[in-house]
């Protein structure tokens, strides 16, 4: 029995790129400490939804609330909003000209205003927690894909976000590197981090998600606990999608 507002509420979110409508009225509510997996074919709108929540893409209509505040209202300080929402991208997007330490301390120093020594002390603690302390002086291109993605997660955590958005964070990794990244996400989930995860890793989704949402052509077609979605999906499109995944040997 909690009176706190949900961590995230999307209400009738529409988004178009030119004539192409990518999100066709998404309604989604995420409670605090809840882990939700977004599944669906490529182009179904998963990434776009995450980018809209982070305000990297302006929405055409509808509204998005984070912790009870409407972030899509005009006059909202987008930098302040983004500070509270961490996003991790499929392609890592680390800054190649900065060391691991530079990547992780950039936002704490520039956005929060910590001193270099304070920011580095905090960063070291985070890096240590994810087994990356010995890589702090390396440059991104000299790390494995798994290490790079873990650094990207640490970088997103450095501003102490209340909500993490993960956009297919294992899709660009070699299969043997996927586990180390999933373990990090698992640890975050156990720590109570609220997360919205777009993923193609169905086993992982079944394992970690409290709720699985199936997106199909910009519509949130079906959602429910993983057992229900994966074993007895109601919608025909969901059944077809899962059938294709099984045929591809991905589940």
């Amino acid at each position: 029995m909690s009176t706190a507002a949900p961590a995230l509420v999307c209400t009738d979110v529409h988004k178009s790129f030119g004539k192409l409508e990518v999100l066709k009225g998404i309604d989604l509510s995420v409670d605090e400490h809840e882990v939700i997996c977004l599944i669906g074919a490529s182009g179904s709108g998963k990434s776009t939804l995450l980018r809209c929540i982070n305000l990297l893409e302006p929405i055409n209509s509808g509204s998005i609330q984070v912790a009870g505040e409407e972030i899509t209202a005009s006059g909202v300080d987008v930098n302040q909003v983004r500070r509270g929402i961490g996003i991790v991208f499929q392609a890592f997007n680390l800054f190649p000209h900065m060391s691991v330490m530079g990547n992780v301390t950039l936002a704490p120093r520039k956005v929060i205003g910590l001193s270099r020594s304070q920011a580095e002390a905090e960063a070291l603690e985070l890096l240590d927690r994810f087994g990356l302390a010995d890589k702090r002086n390396e440059y991104p291109d000299r790390l494995s894909g798994g290490q790079q993605q873990r650094v990207a997660i640490v970088r997103a955590l450095a501003t102490h976000p209340q909500l993490m958005l993960l956009d297919e964070v294992t899709s660009a990794l070699d299969p043997e590197l996927v586990a180390e990244v999933l373990n990090v996400i698992r640890e975050l989930a156990e720590g109570g981090m609220t997360m919205l995860i777009a993923t193609h890793e169905m086993g992982f989704a079944r394992d970690i998600a409290r709720r699985v949402c199936f997106l199909d052509e910009g519509v949130l077609l079906e959602q429910g606990p993983p057992e229900q979605i994966f074993s007895s999906p109601r919608e025909e499109r969901t059944q077809q999608f899962l059938q294709r995944i099984i045929e591809a040997g991905r589940m």
């Binding site: 983004r82 392609a91 800054f95 950039l106 291109d141």
Partner: protein, 279 residues
């Protein structure tokens, strides 16, 4: 067996290496010797040698032209700092997004179009002779300053385009990553985009700087005694072109170390950022 084979192969490999070095040396010597022979045996060579490569003239003018060259160095050092700064401002202005900044973008585009198009010597003349004729108070009439100002105006247009190419070459996902962390547009530009952009355009930047260094000689048309003007005077009094060769020698002398320094900087950066090496 294997070991013996391996060392055999290694020996053959190093023999190959040594012989390829000799081939390189031999072909270089043959080519340059042939060129030298052709030039030296040309019918007019004694005249050319006397007019352009007179050792006595070379020695006589080395000191005075070297002294005058200090003015060229001063001009381009100051101009380079101004150009680097102004061109950066221009490039950033031109990459401002959104309809609000359209007038600023248009001004920036107009500036580059105009000043990249004007022949440098025309602008040097226009500034050097035009501005004093306006008889404005508080505006310098010193031809060195006016000529340098013309160079700054022209090269700012060139260098801003180089910067802009660098900015455009940084993938938009870098901006997205920085903005997603809560950095403002300005902070993103300053800490994420520009550092990567500038690293990528160092070779073409150096290109423009060598161009600038040579173009400091254009200021001679306004009268100041820099290296080329000094060579002009020397050549006129001696009826000999060797002073020009002396001036050219100084220009080449300063560009070569800069080129090597840039190569070294780029190699060091690459080594540090890329896999497979430790600094």
């Amino acid at each position: 067996m294997n070991g013996a084979n391996g060392s055999d192969r290694a020996r053959r490999g190093s023999l190959l290496q040594i012989s390829s070095v000799w081939v390189a040396v031999a072909s270089t010597v043959v080519v340059f010797a042939a060129l030298a022979l052709i030039i030296v045996n040309a019918p007019g060579w004694p005249k050319v040698k006397h007019a352009f490569f007179d050792p006595a003239e070379f020695r006589a003018y080395f000191g005075t032209i070297g002294h005058a060259f200090v003015l060229n160095i001063k001009i381009f050092l100051v101009a380079e700092v101004l150009i680097l700064t102004l061109a950066m401002v221009l490039a950033v202005l031109r990459s401002l997004p959104g309809p609000v900044f359209l007038p600023i973008r248009l001004l920036a585009i107009g500036y580059t179009d105009l000043f990249r198009g004007i022949p440098t010597i025309l602008l040097v003349l226009l500034f050097g002779f035009g501005i004093p004729t306006l008889q404005l108070s508080h505006v310098t009439r010193d031809p060195v300053y006016l000529g340098a100002a013309a160079l700054v105006v022209i090269y700012t247009a060139y260098v801003s385009e180089v910067y802009r190419a660098g900015i455009d070459s940084v993938h938009p996902s870098q901006e997205a990553a920085a903005r997603s962390l809560g950095l403002t547009r300005g902070q993103t530009m300053q800490t994420v985009i520009l550092p990567q952009a500038v690293r990528r355009v160092i070779p073409p930047l150096l290109n423009d700087f060598i161009g600038l260094q040579k173009d400091t000689a254009l200021i001679s048309v306004l009268g100041p005694v820099e290296a080329l003007q000094r060579a002009n005077l020397g050549s006129a009094s001696e009826f000999n072109y060797t002073p020009y060769v002396v001036a050219a020698f100084f220009f080449v002398l300063i560009t070569v170390p800069q080129a090597r320094l840039t190569d070294w900087l780029i190699a060091r950066d690459r080594k540090r950022q890329m896999a497979g090496g430790r600094v």
